[in-house]
């Protein structure tokens, strides 16, 4: 059996009486897109925080490439190969698009302790950043202030920054959020290819995208995984239909 690239093993997290994660075990295999769906308040964001760092599970472990990363802070998980995108774009708005991508490249390179040479004269960083921008189609906007980008372009940049890290696994929190039909379609295509570079744990509300992309889907309700399976299995699952999908499937 091949080992999962990324896995949570029985993680639970409570806030007072609220069980935000209840014995959640999810794994991400090489080359796949594993989507996590569920109604609002199901604990998806809490789960992501526990996977990426920032929130420590009460019990259970998070493993990346077989290593236990449960106790690592966010930045060390990123160094270990976790590439994350945010639901609400977390970009340096005052900086240019290129600077945001270079920041990612700098993180990937791991040494920000250089105080003299201009960062935008570092050819290695520039190459990595430009390559990522080209892949998402933002190369012509490199010099644009990020604040001036459209919402869709910010979503693209969000993905580009994650790309610069050359991660071993992606964790994407609603990358389609706020994108129009056209934008969603393009990003869906893009993610479809990206899975071959590194598998993607995808939290997404856009069901068209999820059904088009996911190799496996896990459904989270009240902090619990009520089902995991292929698109067909999930569509056919009665519990899932009752709890979440309703008529959509």
């Amino acid at each position: 059996m091949t080992e999962a690239i990324l896995a949570t093993q029985g993680i639970s997290k409570s806030f007072g009486a609220l069980k935000a994660s209840d014995d959640v075990s999810i794994d991400l295999m090489a080359g796949e897109i594993h989507a996590i769906i569920g109604p609002n308040g199901a604990g998806k964001s809490t789960l992501i925080k526990q996977i990426c760092g920032g929130l420590k599970p009460d019990t259970g472990t998070v493993k990346l490439l077989g290593e236990d990363v449960t106790d690592l802070p966010t930045e060390l998980r990123a160094r270990a190969g976790l590439g994350r995108t945010f639901q609400i774009s977390a970009l340096a708005m005052e900086d240019t698009v290129l600077q945001n991508a270079v920041l990612g490249a700098l993180g990937g390179q791991g040494n920000p302790w250089r105080f003299f040479k201009p960062v935008l004269k570092d050819q290695d960083l520039l190459d990595t950043a430009m390559e990522a921008l080209e892949r998402v189609g933002l190369q012509d906007h490199a010099k644009t202030r990020t604040a001036e980008l459209s919402h869709g372009q910010r979503r693209q940049l969000e993905v580009a920054v994650a790309l610069t890290l050359k991660p071993k696994a992606f964790v994407m929190d609603e990358p389609m959020a706020g994108l129009g039909t056209e934008g969603s379609k393009r990003l869906t295509e893009f993610l479809g290819d990206l899975r071959h570079q590194a598998p993607i744990l995808l939290v997404e509300h856009d069901m068209d995208a999820v059904f088009a992309l996911a190799d496996r889907i896990s459904v989270l309700v009240y902090g619990k995984v009520i089902a995991t399976g292929t698109v067909e299995e999930i569509r056919a699952n009665k519990d899932v239909r009752d709890a979440y999908l309703g008529d959509e499937a």
């Binding site: 994350r84 977390a90 340096a92 920041l103 302790w113 201009p118 960062v119 935008l120």
Partner: protein, 327 residues
């Protein structure tokens, strides 16, 4: 050349030429005033690295200013009284040499900034302001009760300290020394702003979450910025004490910390030349308005209110508009 670089060059040229003109037209007091402005500008450029780049509103930067001041005061005091600073386990003598004093000022401020940063950077926002203020007050009251070095009265130094090849007793020569230091520090600060560290620090101010998720530690970036910032303000403190040939607990006061912030806001937050323009304008106003009334701070208050309400980018922002992203 953009309008911004044009303005900056003009500001720097004015700083170089006006005192020179004052010197030749026999107005040494103006030279001294300019020296005061340049040294305060240096202190505020130090704060700019923490506040402007790092977003750290430190209301305790007088700590470093005071440490620089007392480093100068204590070393020179022992040199002029021919008493060693300490005798056990090894003898340390005082000194009247500026380079040595500066080194001590910078090292001490850095070490103190490291420990203050380590504790206060765990907090943010209003709590960070309060905890840095608290550290400032600790040092202030310590200095007041430190009777070995003058306590409340401070320490007077009879003769200004020396620098090889410069007659520091001549106002224009001491001014030139301070100006060169300011220019050199600004050169490095400008490089820093564009360096990998500068990019990461700037991002840590805007989106700390992002910085973490690309594998960098925002806290460590801020800590290093805080140390660099403290070191520069400490150096300015040593120069300031040398200018006045006097150091007192006032250098540690929270009003001093507040003035450094005022320089930055007055001149323009986020811009390297902001603290410089702010300090120069402040010193000029202090002089001009001070002649008009003992209560000149009222006018300063009105001016500050105006700047904060109507010109968020400070004086430079008013003249040049919002800063464009650097390329």
């Amino acid at each position: 050349m953009t309008r911004e670089t044009l303005f900056n060059s003009a500001a720097l040229a004015a700083l170089a030429l006006v005192p020179l003109w004052a010197h030749f037209s026999g107005e040494p007091f103006t030279v001294t005033l300019a020296t005061r402005a340049v040294i305060l500008a240096l202190a505020a450029v130090g704060l700019h690295i923490a506040l402007g780049l790092g977003g750290l509103v430190s209301l305790g930067h007088a700590v470093f200013f005071g440490i620089g001041g007392y480093a100068m005061g204590i070393l020179a005091h022992h040199a002029q009284t021919y008493t060693p600073l300490m005798e056990w386990p090894f003898v340390i003598e005082g000194t009247k040499s500026m380079p040595v004093i500066w080194l001590v000022a910078v090292v001490l401020s850095s070490v103190v900034a490291y420990f203050i940063g380590l504790l206060s950077l765990r907090t943010s926002g209003v709590y960070f302001i309060m905890i840095t203020l608290a550290f400032g007050q600790m040092f202030f009251f310590f200095a007041i009760s430190w009777s070995a070095y003058g306590g409340e009265d401070g320490l007077s130094i009879y003769v200004r300290n020396g620098f090889p090849g410069v007659n520091t007793l001549v106002p224009i020569q001491f001014y030139a020394l301070c100006f060169v230091i300011l220019a050199a520090v600004m050169f490095f600060a400008a490089r820093l702003q564009r360096s990998p560290f500068g990019l990461a620090l700037n991002a840590a101010r805007q989106v700390p979450d992002r910085v973490e998720t690309v594998g960098l530690n925002p806290m460590r970036l801020r800590l290093v910025a805080f140390v660099l910032s403290g070191a520069i303000t400490g150096l300015a403190g040593a120069l300031f004490a040398d200018l006045n040939r006097f150091v007192s607990p006032t250098m540690f006061s929270w009003q001093m910390s507040g003035e450094l912030i005022i320089f930055i806001i007055l001149g323009g937050l986020g811009r390297l030349y902001g603290p410089v323009v702010g300090a120069v304008v402040f010193v000029a106003l202090e002089h001009i308005l001070g002649d008009l009334s003992d209560y000149w701070h009222i006018y300063l208050g009105v001016l500050l209110l105006g700047v904060v309400l109507f010109a968020r980018g400070g004086i430079i922002g008013m003249l040049l508009g919002r800063e464009v992203a650097h390329d």
